[in-house]
């Protein structure tokens, strides 16, 4: 007979993956106490805004296995939505957030439906093309989009009456948004929905046979990633005060993809690590910009070759191996098996 057994408490173990991220973010929120330079704060804000977008990308790529080269375009839709709403309807920051999230989600759907019709690699190129198209449309959009010059976005960001435009305050607000993005993406990953997305990543045919509407969920993942991107776009537009088409063309998209890959797309700490590293590596190493890009490209290649799951997972693996080195051999073997992906899956 079919016996009844309860699954073990996986909620707790899931929480364990979120906790370090929240702790790190809490520490990051304390940084203003050290009176950091304004350059640091400014770069950190930009990095944080990227990280929010990266959390969307990690749901799309890390969980669902869909690599988009047009993510910056989704951020752009959010940013332009905020700027146009502010210009035409005097909409403030807080109202722009849901509106931009909606607009980016909608755009994601418009891009996603045709792109997902063509699978695999074609998809990547399609998203790339849509990103480029968006930039071209914005560039030729006349006064409505501000054409190549772009749009200004003025108007203070206030929270409970406090002016958030001050760098430190904006920084704290961005950190809060990053935390929210991390929690949201953690919730998705650990929900049945996240599992569904992973199932699609692993085997679409099997997923469909188990009642999963593969097409709808893939578009759904795309839309979810758009929501993150839209919010990131609003924060960006209000931070910069001026946006223009080139900021959202294909190369920024490539950089977003690189960041998420460096950090590791599947883990909750990945986007955070990737976003921070890419923003601060050239700063910290104090390299000449040309050299720093070379170093950075080489690092990326090394990470992908040596730690294909991303930096965070790789470091975790090394760490576990070190921990395990004290234990009996048998157990160590199993530990490692669990963390290697089978290179060959029977079909």
């Amino acid at each position: 007979m079919i016996a009844s057994r309860q699954p073990n408490g996986s909620a707790i173990s899931a929480l364990r993956s979120l906790l370090p991220v929240l702790v790190v973010l809490a520490l990051i929120a304390l940084v203003p106490l050290l009176s950091p330079s304004n350059r640091f704060l400014s770069l950190a804000i930009s990095a944080g805004i990227n990280v929010i977008a990266l959390y969307g990308l990690s749901v799309l790529f890390g969980q669902t296995g869909i690599l988009s080269m047009g993510h910056a375009a989704l951020v752009g839709v959010g940013a332009y939505t905020a700027a146009i709403l502010a210009r035409d309807l005097c909409t403030g920051f807080w109202l722009a957030l849901p509106a931009a999230a909606l607009a980016s989600a909608l755009f994601a759907m418009i891009v996603g439906i045709p792109s997902l019709r063509v699978g695999g690699h074609h998809f990547v190129i399609m998203t790339f093309a849509f990103g480029q198209l968006l930039a071209i449309v914005l560039t030729n959009g006349g006064d409505y989009t501000g054409a190549a010059t772009g749009l200004d976005l003025v108007g203070p960001v206030t929270l409970f009456g406090a002016d958030m435009s001050d760098l430190t305050r904006y920084y704290l607000m961005v950190v809060a948004f990053v935390a929210a993005a991390a929690v949201a993406s953690w919730a998705i990953i650990n929900s049945p929905y996240g599992r569904t997305l992973r199932a699609i990543r692993e085997n679409e045919r099997l997923a469909a046979s188990l009642g999963i509407n593969v097409g709808r969920h893939k578009i759904g993942a795309f839309v979810v990633s758009g929501i993150f991107a839209g919010i990131s776009g609003v924060l960006l537009a209000h931070f910069l005060g001026h946006i223009s088409p080139t900021q959202f063309a294909s190369f920024p998209s490539i950089y977003l993809a690189l960041m998420v890959m460096i950090g590791g797309a599947r883990l909750i700490a990945g986007p955070l690590a990737g976003g921070i590293l890419v923003a601060f590596l050239p700063e910290v190493l104090n390299l000449d910009p040309v050299q720093s890009r070379i170093v950075y490209g080489v690092c990326l290649i090394a990470v992908i070759l040596l730690l294909p799951e991303g930096l965070i997972a790789g470091v975790g693996q090394v760490f576990r191996r070190l921990l395990a080195s004290g234990q009996p051999k048998q157990e160590r073997e199993e530990l490692d098996t669990a963390s290697t992906t089978p290179s060959e899956v029977r079909r």
Partner: protein, 380 residues
């Protein structure tokens, strides 16, 4: 012990916009050195030396913003120059203006935000200055110069002009003014052809221009693109003569370019390769001696050089670094620079100065002349 005044520079020293970026710190640096060598500036009874603090924006807006924040709040500069990238400058102004930092930038699109309202005391761009003329002035002086210089070389009065324009911020903005200027000169302009900024194959655009049978094709404005496009145009025999915006006769000679038809060129603002402006030679000798490369944008550095001197004079006149007093001084001064003996800012914080236009005869000599800007915008 000398007191130090810091001047910030934000420019692209890496990334895709480098070629323009190098000229900015070079021009500012040269002026700073000249002023310091001459003993510095005297403000309020004390002597100050200038220090240029430059930051690379890596052609990346986040870095440009961070650099500006750093210069304004951490380094505490008295003034900022830059950047060469339009949208970066507009975003930088959002930082410099509330902080009351004098901000010079060359981007002509600044005209969009420099309005009488925004530059008045208390306005949001009170401390922002455009180091280039109002666009109708540059367009007007250029158009009349091009037509005047080409007419004798063509042997008849050109009637039909076609513009080929890069589809980026500068191109979009500038072309409408140049179009009007050409019209005001009596030209028939049947088409403005935009090309994507990274175009290298101009032949389809040129063939289209050729089909309109123009007397002059005007390449407006990107010097690098122009140099790419010209040989293709000559190959296609696209027009009876050409105008290359922003290509210096120096480049023309260095690259050993030649054409079987007349070619006009213009420099922003004065040419370094061949010039009718006597003061310019001394400047460019010093500029290149300092190690700056010969390039299509080299002459732009001259503007920044002049405005550093201009600013220094303003500080001396104001007797203070107080930004409001500095602005007042800048608006009332008549500065003697290389570009012009009488540099002044107009009520919307833009300057007026001449543009140098040259023309190369087929296989022959180059002649240049400074073109004075029109006083008023053409009525369209």
């Amino acid at each position: 012990e000398d007191n130090i005044v810091k001047i910030g520079v934000v420019a692209a020293e890496s990334g895709s916009f480098v070629s323009a970026g190098h000229t900015l710190p070079a021009g500012v640096g040269l002026a700073v050195k000249q002023i310091n060598d001459a003993g510095g500036i005297k403000v309020g009874g004390k002597t100050y030396k200038l220090e240029m603090v430059k930051r690379d924006d890596r052609t990346d807006i986040a870095t440009a913003i961070a650099a500006t924040q750093e210069l304004v709040r951490d380094v505490k500069v008295q003034a900022i120059f830059g950047s060469e990238t339009h949208d970066f400058t507009l975003a930088m102004a959002k930082i410099t203006q509330p902080a009351k930092i004098i901000h010079f930038a060359g981007n002509s699109t600044l005209a969009k935000i420099l309005t009488p309202d925004s530059v008045k005391p208390g306005g949001e761009d009170h401390y922002l200055f455009q180091s280039e003329p109002q666009e109708f002035q540059r367009s007007g002086s250029t158009a009349s110069g091009v037509l005047t210089l080409l007419e004798p070389l063509l042997g008849y009065k050109p009637k039909k002009s076609v513009m080929i324009v890069g589809n980026d911020a500068t191109g979009q903005f500038l072309s409408s003014y140049y179009f009007k200027a050409l019209k005001a000169e009596g030209q028939d302009v049947p088409d403005i052809i935009f090309y994507p900024p990274d175009t290298t194959d101009f032949s389809p655009f040129l063939t289209r221009a050729k089909s309109l049978n123009p007397d002059i094709i005007h390449f407006w404005y990107n010097g690098d693109s122009t140099l790419t496009a010209l040989p293709q145009a000559l190959e296609l025999g696209a027009a009876k003569s050409y105008f290359l915006f922003g290509v210096d006769p120096g480049i023309w000679k260095e690259k050993q370019l030649s054409a079987d038809v007349p070619v006009a060129m213009s420099c922003v603002p004065v040419c370094w390769g061949e010039s009718s402006n006597p003061k310019a030679k001394a400047y460019f000798d010093a500029y290149f001696a300092a190690g700056a490369p010969h390039g299509v944008t080299s002459s732009v550095s001259l503007l920044y050089h002049d405005y550093v001197h201009f600013l220094a004079e303003a500080w001396e006149k104001a007797g203070s670094f107080d930004p409001d007093k500095t602005v007042e001084a800048l608006l009332t001064l008549h500065h003697q620079g290389v570009v012009s003996d009488d540099l002044t800012f107009n009520p919307t914080h833009q300057v007026t100065h001449a543009t140098e236009v040259c023309a190369a005869a087929p296989g022959g000599d180059i002649s240049c002349s400074m073109q004075q800007p029109p006083a008023e915008a053409p009525k369209s």
